[in-house]
Every structure is written in C-alpha cells, then in structure tokens.
C-alpha cells in the first residue's frame, strides 16, 4: 500500500530550500516532496535543522534560497522585487496628485475642490497602505503576476490548507478546549465585523454549525465531554490531542505535526499513532511528521527523510532508512577506526 501512496501527486514540493543564520547553514539545499495522502516523516539528531525546515514550510521564517510550492501554487521563496510593491501603492495617489497639480496650474482647481482632491489623495494612500498591510489573496496573486513576490505568512499557509501543531504545546491555555477548536475554525468561518455587530441570522447559524463541528472534532481526537475544561487544566496527552483538533479545525489538506509524541507515555503514544493513521485513512489527510520516537516514525511512515547538519542524508522507506549506514553514523557516531 505504501508503494502506491508515494506515487500520488505531490501536494507540497520544496526545492533547494536553504536557510542560513549568519554563518550557520541550518538547512542546506533540501529537496522534499509530500505525496498526497501519505505520511512522511522528517527525522534527524538534535540540531539537524528539522524545525527550521518546518518553519520555512510554514512561512514562519523566510528561506535564504529555494522555494516551496503548495498545491501547485508558489507559496514561499526569497522575496523578489518587493521594492516595486511600494511604488505600486504610491502610484494611484501620485497620479491623482499630478493631475491635481496640473489642474492648479491651469487654474481649474482651487479652494474647496482642491481640498477635496487632497483628501482623495490621502484616502487613496491610506487605502493602498491598508491593502499592503492586510494582503488579501487576490492582491498577492495580482502581485505575483507582476513578478513581485513575498512569501506567504503563516496565516496564509493555513488559509491555503496547511495545519500545524507545535513542538512545545501552544494552546490558548486560558480558553476552554472547545474555544480552542473554534479559534482553529477561524479561516473557515465567513462572518465579519458587520454581521457580528448586527448579530445576523447567517452568523448565528454559522456559529451553531461551528460549535457542532468543534464537538465532532473533539470527539474525533478522543476528547469528548471535555469541551468545557480550560485547556491548561487538561492532562498533557489531552493537550497534545487538543492541539491536533485545533489544527484540524481549519480543514487542512496537509497536517504538519512537530514532535507530537514528545513527553507522552507509551499508552498515550499508542493512541496517538492510531489517531494519526485514522486521520490519513478516514479523513484522507496528508501528514508530515517530525518525531524523535522511532517506534512512532517506523510504525506509520510511508517515507522517511533524514536530516543531519542541515543536509538531507537519506530518504526512503522505514526499512531502507533503518539500514542506511549514513543514518546510523549520524545517530550513533562514526565507527571507531
């Protein structure tokens, strides 16, 4: 079965991803693809650059070089021609300003009309500034067509369909479990400022549906009935699972799990492995796993990629990787001569 899964269309393609921190090359020209509906793992000794690579994939940090495509769309790469972007913001205001100046010179514009045009110029500037700050998807696409490129931000990646969990749990600790999941649903919900202020019917229906969906998700990860507990009061294993539920809430196509089994006892780990396989088999998710627990990794991965000192040193099925001398060396050190 694992054989066919790896032949699926790639959902995410990273090409030659490099990230330097000063002189340190944390990730060095890593090529990486994730086929649809597969479980792919990324392993490596401490400091191998796994989390850095992960953060590049998620838009948390920009790569020094290389690019990441998700579902065929270029999401992450080195910023390109971004100077022109500010020119584009200024253009409408400058053009209008020039026309106004022409009008003044010709004696058409004066007094109140001039003030009105000035206000218009100011409003245009504010509008374009806001556009550049908010960066809606259509704006990014329009810019990309002009060859101006800026990496997607983490929230854009979530919007595109990538969910994530954190290595050290980052729940909204003082919110209840169900509220955490509802926050996770944010990109899926459509209600806006106006509908919230007017408390429209549409919004009420949406909220009710969201609440039901959140309950379902909690049940899915095994937290049924714990929805009203504050996240901080949940046991450790439950917090991990709640984080997965929160990531699932945005209906991602790809789920990135950063050491989900860290700090779990064997029983909790077993449950987690079962959950992850269920996510793939029942929900059709694609999963990228960073994990230290070899039992987890070897048990469920279709393919394993090994990083060491920022380089990809091996890639293959669990069996292949287990026997790879380079991998053994990276983990245990070179054999004594």
């Amino acid at each position: 079965m694992s054989g066919n899964v790896l032949d699926n269309e790639p959902i995410l393609v990273a090409t030659q991803v490099t990230r330097r921190f000063g002189g340190l090359v944390a990730v060095n020209k890593v090529d990486f693809t994730i086929p649809e509906r597969s479980i792919v793992s990324l392993i490596g000794p401490n400091g191998a650059g796994k989390t850095t690579f992960f953060n590049v994939l998620l838009g948390v940090i920009d790569p020094t070089d290389g690019a990441v495509d998700f579902l065929g769309r270029r999401m992450i790469a080195r910023p390109h021609r971004i100077v022109y972007e500010s020119l584009i913001w200024l253009m409408p205001a400058v053009v209008l300003g020039l026309i106004a100046a022409g009008g003044v010179a010709a004696g058409i514009l004066s007094g109140r009309l001039l003030a009105l045009v000035g206000l218009g110029v100011l409003m245009l500037l504010i509008g374009t500034l806001l556009l550049s700050v908010i960066r809606p998807v259509w704006y990014q696409k329009r810019l990309a067509r002009l060859g101006i490129f800026r990496s997607a931000r983490p929230n854009d990646m979530v919007g595109a369909g990538v969910g994530r969990t954190f290595q050290n749990i980052r729940l909204f600790k003082n919110m209840t479990a169900i509220e955490n999941v509802l926050v996770g649903m944010h990109p899926k919900l459509r209600s806006n400022l106006v509908s919230a202020l007017l408390n429209t019917k549409g919004m009420q229906h949406e909220e009710a549906a969201a609440l039901d969906r959140a309950q379902e998700l909690l049940a899915l990860v095994g937290l049924r009935g714990k929805g009203n507990e504050a996240a901080r009061n949940l046991p450790y294993g439950d917090q991990r699972r709640l984080e997965i539920a929160r990531a699932l809430a945005s209906d991602p196509k790809l789920l990135l799990l950063d050491e989900p089994a860290a700090g779990m006892n064997p029983k909790e780990t077993m449950n987690l492995v079962a959950l992850i396989s269920r996510l793939r088999n029942d929900l059709g998710l694609t999963i990228l796993l960073i994990e230290h627990d070899m039992k987890v990794v070897m048990g469920i991965s279709d393919r394993i990629t090994v990083l060491d000192h920022g380089d990809k040193i091996a890639e293959g099925t669990p069996e292949e990787v287990r026997r790879d001398p380079k991998v053994i060396e990276a983990y245990l050190g070179a054999p004594a001569v």
């Binding site: 729940l171 909204f172 408390n199």
Partner: protein, 406 residues
C-alpha cells in the same frame, strides 16, 4: 435531558447547545437594555434623596453622572483594545480628542469657517442641533481612520514598544491641536458648539441635564451591546487568541495584523463617539481636555474594573469618575454642613490624588484582576499563586482518566 428518548445524548446536547447559542446574544442585548434602564433610574432616584441632596443639588448629580458616562464609554472602548485584544494603548485620549474636534469643525461658527461650509449659519441652532446625531457616526469613522493610520505601521510592535508609540501619538495629537493656531484656535480651543437637538426630548442645555443624561444612557447601552456582540463573535475569539499567543493565533489562520488593526479601529471609534458627545455637552473643545491624564485614568478604570469584562469596566469607570470628580468634591461641603468634628477639617480635594493612588496600589496588590474580572483573565493572573491547587487539579484529572480507562 432524560425526557428526550429518541435522540442520542450527543445529538440532544448539540440541539440544546445550538438553542443556547442562538439566544445567547439576544439574551445579552436584553439584559444590557434592562440593566442599563435599572441603573439609569436608580441613579436618577439617588440624586433626589437626602444624603445626596445635602451634598449638591440634584441637577448637579445628574450632570456628574453624565460626565461619568463619557468615561464609561471611553473605558468600554479601551477595554476592547487592552482587555480583549491585549494591545496596550497609552494614547487613547487622542481618539477622544479627534472625535471632539470633528464635531467642533462641523458644529461651530469657527470650525465652519475653517472647513468653508457654513453649517451653523445656514441651519440655525435649532435645526443645526440635529447634526449631532449623524456626527456621532462621523466622529466614530474619523477616529477609526486615525486608529487605522496609527495602527497600520505600528501594530507589528509588541507590548512595551506599542505602548510607547501610542503614548507618543497621545501626546502628539493634543500638541498639534494646541500649536496649529490658524485652524484650531490654539489654547483657547473652539467654542460656541451647537448643542444637540431632538424633537420630543426637551432642550439640551446647561441648566437641564436630563436630555444629556438620557442620551448618555442610550449611547452606553448601544456601545455595550455592540461590544458584547463583537466579543462573542469569531472576531472576539480571534482577539482573545492573539492576546494569549500571537504565534499560535497566526498558526490557526488568523490574520493577526488585520485583526489587531480592527481592534484598534473599533476602540478608537468608541472614543470618537465619546468625544463628539462630550464636546456637544461642554460646548467647547480645547487641547487641555485631552491630556495624558485622561488616557491614564481610562486605563486605570479598565484595570480596576476588571479587564475583559464590559460590565466590570463600566462599573469601574463610573466608580472612579464619581469618587474622583463628584464625591470627593462634595465631601467637603457635606461635612461642613453636618459639621462633623474631625472630618470637616480635612480637605478631601487636596487628598484626591493621594487617595486615588492608594486605591490603585491596594487594588493591584490585593486583586490584580480588577473588581469584576473576566474569568479568563483571572485564570491568567492566578497561575503561579495557585500552583498547589493546579497540582491537585492535575491529580484529579488523572484519577478521572483512570476511571475512563476502566
């Protein structure tokens, strides 16, 4: 629940939840309307019964309550920014000023001469007073625009840095109004503003505080309803998520920049409304009404009342304002009149800031979450202190889990 037999427990629970969810906001709105009506009536009655009438005339009390209402509005707006979204804003008075000046430009002869549209002259003071109502909205919009202008470049900053930038903005705005003599009339400010008018509401004037009082009550009610609606919506959840953990919020797909900007703009617009109302009440605006003390007082009101809880904040604002500006001032007269031995020799006005400061210090030591805290805020502030309790809770949870396993 047990009556429902044909539904699975989960489905029944979902149905009940849904029904609850549907009524939650509506329920809130009515609670607020009824609550504000009761509070409004109660205060009005208080102004007419003995211990209070001894201190100052009833009309003066009503007027004082109205002024307190302005600060309640300000505190409600700042609560959105500081209490809910967690953005420390030390220059909130700037938006108050912007709202007030916006009204001044439209509703005073001097302002009209600056913008070049003779509104007051052409409408006269009776019809012109109607301008006040749409101006509430315009003031809100203008203040929101400035909120966005300030927020767009600065909201990348976190915590202390944002506080300093807003502090700067709060200083700049009154100074600009002070120094732009030609367009703002400098220190003297703009006077002779139109008072509001509304058929059937009596005349808004200095001697008759009632129309202002009722207007204030309505404004506070509406603002509070809108605040509750916002906080219970998707947007409110996003704000709270950002306050708790910005990175995690971004990782759940929240556009943190837009969301924070919205909090800033909405907080500013509330201050704008308060500014318009206050200007129409004082009939004059001048830069010295919008000093740092205002920003600071409003922040103290939010903190003392209980960050994140709108009722708490409203009560906090009302209490602080009333104690500070009404009660202490009347205590002197009151004790003089009843000639209490020691108390009549104390000058409470001189002690005003001492008492105020002491109250702040005591509050922060004894109850840092404020008088009426938001449950979530309370959890945040009592992490370290309740460590043993938290451990116990963990133990309890483990037991529960074992039961589950069996």
């Amino acid at each position: 629940m047990s009556v429902v037999t044909d539904l699975t427990p989960q489905a029944a629970g979902g149905g009940r939840k849904r029904a609850l969810q549907k009524t939650a906001s509506k329920h809130h709105s009515w609670t607020i309307v009824v609550g504000m009506a009761i509070v409004g009536t109660l205060l009005a009655v208080l102004a007419y019964i003995p211990p209070f009438t001894l201190a100052q005339p009833s009309n003066a009390w009503i007027d004082g309550f109205t002024n307190a209402g302005v600060f309640v509005m300000l505190a409600l707006g700042l609560n959105l920014v500081v209490g809910i979204a967690g953005l420390l804003d030390l220059g909130y008075a700037a938006f108050f000023a912007i709202g007030a000046y916006t009204y001044a430009y439209v509703a005073s002869p001097f302002g009209n001469s600056i913008i070049g549209i003779p509104i007051v002259e052409s409408l006269g003071s009776n019809v012109g007073g109607l301008v006040f109502w749409p101006m509430l909205l315009v003031g809100a919009l203008v203040a929101a625009t400035f909120g966005i202008l300030l927020g767009a470049p600065t909201l990348r900053l976190r915590g202390d840095y944002l506080a300093i930038v807003t502090l700067g903005f709060g200083e700049i705005v009154p100074i600009v109004f002070l120094n732009s003599d030609a367009v703002t009339n400098g220190t003297n400010g703009i006077g002779g503003l139109l008072r509001p008018a509304l058929p059937g509401m009596g005349s808004f004037s200095a001697i008759n505080p009632w129309p202002y009082y009722v207007t204030m009550l309505v404004l506070v009610t509406v603002i509070m309803i809108l605040c509750y609606r916002l906080v219970e919506s998707r947007l409110g959840r996003a704000w709270e998520a950002i306050r708790e953990d910005e990175l995690a919020a971004a990782a759940t797909g929240i556009n943190t920049v837009t969301t924070k900007l919205l909090a800033f703009a909405l907080g500013a617009s509330t201050a704008g409304i308060a500014g318009v109302f206050n200007a129409s009440k004082l009939v004059t605006v001048s830069p010295d009404q919008f000093t740092f003390i205002v920003s600071f007082t409003v922040l103290a009101m939010v903190v003392l009342g209980g960050m994140g809880n709108f009722w708490g904040v409203a009560v906090g604002a009302f209490t602080i304002y009333t104690i500070n500006n009404v009660l202490l001032k009347t205590l002197n007269e009151f004790f003089d009149r009843v000639s209490m031995p020691i108390l009549k020799d104390i000058n409470f006005i001189e002690l005003q800031f001492l008492l105020y400061g002491l109250a702040l210090v005591a509050m922060m030591l004894l109850r840092p979450e404020g008088l009426f805290p938001n449950s979530r805020r309370q959890r945040e502030l009592h992490t370290e202190m309740d460590e043993p309790g938290a451990d116990e809770l963990m133990g309890g949870d483990h037991e529960l889990e074992q039961e589950d396993m069996r």
